[in-house]
C-alpha cells in the first residue's frame, strides 16, 4: 500500500459519484482524461469516485465502463493513477493495494517540488460519520433509491448546504468561519504539510490557514467539475472548462 509518494505533476479530482443517477461525471471526464494525458499528469481520484453505496450494480457497471477505459488509457501511456478511499466507496478499503495498475490507498502524503501535500477524502472529520459510521452508512444507502427516482433531491441538498454556509459566514462578520475541515487541515498542516487537499464536501475551496499553509477542496464532478492541479510544488484549484 502506497502512502508516501513523489509526484511532480498530479491532477486531483474527487466526488465523481460515477454510477449515481445524479452524477454527470461520465459525460465530462473523457475530455479531462485527455487533458491529463496531454499534460503528462498523473491522476488521483480523492474518494467517492465510484458510487458503491447508493448505486444499483447495473448502473454502476454501465457508468463505470467509460471511466475505467479512460483510466486504463492513462496507465498505458505511463501515468500513475492513485485512488484514495472515500465514504461512498469505503468497501475499497478491503483492496488497499495495486489493482490493475490503480493504487488504492486510505490517504496520501505527496511530495512535489519540495512541497508536502496531504491528500485525503475528509470523511474522517465529518461529525456525522465519526459519531456513528454505521448509521451514516445506513442513511446514505437508504437515500439511494430516492435518488434513483428523484435525482434532483441532490440539487435540494446542495442548495441547503450552500445556504447553511452562507448563513454561518454572515453570522461571523463576513469572514468564513473555520469548519471542522479547516480545523482538521490545521492539525495536519502543523505536522509538516504545506497544503491539505480534501474532497467530501462537494464545495471547491482554496483557503489560507492563519497558522500557515493552505486547505483546498477538490469540489465535485456531479455538476460541472473542479480539480486541484499540482505542478512541481505549485498547488492550484481549477474549474474544468475555465
Amino acid at each position: 500500500m502506497i502512502i508516501d509518494t513523489t509526484q511532480e505533476r498530479l491532477l486531483v479530482v474527487s466526488d465523481l459519484h460515477v454510477g449515481n443517477p445524479y452524477s454527470a461525471a461520465t459525460r465530462t471526464l473523457g475530455d479531462f482524461f485527455e487533458y491529463a494525458e496531454a499534460g503528462g499528469y498523473n491522476l488521483c481520484i480523492n474518494g467517492d469516485g465510484f458510487e458503491i453505496l447508493q448505486a444499483r450494480f447495473a448502473s454502476l457497471a454501465a457508468e463505470s465502463a467509460s471511466v475505467l477505459r479512460g483510466i486504463r488509457r492513462l496507465i498505458e501511456r505511463g501515468a500513475s493513477v492513485l485512488y484514495v478511499v472515500g465514504n461512498h466507496d469505503i468497501a475499497l478499503e478491503n483492496f488497499l493495494s495495486a489493482w490493475s495498475g490503480i493504487q488504492i490507498t486510505p490517504f496520501l502524503n505527496v511530495t512535489s517540488g519540495g512541497t508536502r501535500i496531504r491528500i485525503e477524502h475528509g470523511h474522517l472529520y465529518d461529525p456525522s460519520f465519526v459519531k456513528s459510521p454505521r448509521v451514516y452508512e445506513w442513511l446514505t444507502r437508504a437515500a439511494g433509491p430516492l435518488l434513483h427516482f428523484y435525482p434532483d433531491v441532490y440539487r435540494v441538498w446542495t442548495s441547503y448546504e450552500e445556504a447553511k454556509q452562507r448563513l454561518r459566514g454572515a453570522l461571523r462578520s463576513g469572514t468564513a468561519p473555520p469548519s471542522v475541515y479547516h480545523e482538521a487541515a490545521e492539525m495536519l498542516l502543523r505536522r509538516g504539510f504545506d497544503a491539505v487537499v480534501f474532497g467530501h464536501t462537494h464545495q471547491p475551496e482554496d483557503t489560507s490557514i492563519p497558522s500557515g499553509g493552505r486547505y483546498l477542496n477538490c469540489g465535485t464532478w456531479v455538476r460541472g467539475g473542479s480539480f486541484v492541479e499540482i505542478d512541481r510544488g505549485q498547488v492550484a484549484l481549477r474549474r474544468w472548462g475555465d
Binding site: P106, F107, P177, G192, D206, S208, I209
Partner: protein, 158 residues
C-alpha cells in the same frame, strides 16, 4: 478562484513548535523526558553511542517524527537527536499525543506504519549484520543491537 482567508480556529492542546539552530541537540541519549517530535522544517540527525563510537541511525526530514518510544514507554532516551541546519519541530507531550490521536486519526496509522517499518528494517539489518556476508558497518550495527538487547536494571527507549 475560491480564495478566502479564515479566522483562527484556536489552540492545540500542549503541542508547541520549537526552532533549533544547526547542530543543537533536541534530545540527548539517557535523559528522561516524555515528549515526541515531528519535524516541520529542516532535517534532524538521530544517533547513539556504541562501544565503538557514535552510530548514526537516521537523518530525518520534514514530516518525519522521532522520540515516540520515550512517550509510549516512559523510559529514558535511547538515542540523541540533533538539528542539521536550522530545524523547526513540533513538540508533543503524552497528553498532546492523545489529543492528536483523537483529532487526527491518520497520525495513529502513520505512527504504527512507521514503527512497523522500523521493526522490519531492524530485523533485516540484524540478520544481515550477523550473517557472514555483512559489511563492517552493518556488523557494528548488529553488535550495537545486541549490546542494547542485554538486560539492564532500567530499560531504555528511543
Amino acid at each position: 478562484m475560491f480564495k478566502k482567508l479564515i479566522t483562527s480556529s484556536g489552540e492545540h492542546g500542549t503541542e508547541l513548535a520549537r526552532t533549533f539552530a544547526d547542530a543543537e541537540l533536541i534530545c540527548r541519549e539517557g535523559e528522561s523526558s516524555a515528549e515526541m517530535f515531528v519535524i516541520r522544517r529542516g532535517s534532524v540527525r538521530v544517533f547513539k553511542a556504541s562501544p565503538r563510537g557514535e552510530l548514526e541511525l537516521a537523518v530525518l526530514t520534514k514530516g518525519d517524527f522521532f522520540g515516540e518510544m520515550s512517550v509510549l514507554e516512559g523510559l529514558p532516551r535511547d538515542a540523541s537527536a540533533q538539528a542539521v541546519g536550522e530545524a523547526e519541530v513540533l513538540v508533543m507531550t503524552a497528553g498532546a499525543l492523545l489529543v492528536r490521536l483523537r483529532r487526527d486519526p491518520t497520525f495513529a496509522f502513520e505512527l504504527l506504519r512507521r514503527l512497523s517499518g522500523r521493526v522490519r528494517s531492524l530485523n533485516a539489518r540484524l540478520v544481515a549484520a550477523l550473517g557472514n556476508g555483512g559489511e563492517p558497518q552493518e556488523r557494528r550495527f548488529g553488535e550495537a543491537l545486541l549490546y542494547q538487547s542485554e538486560p539492564k536494571e532500567s530499560g531504555t527507549a528511543v
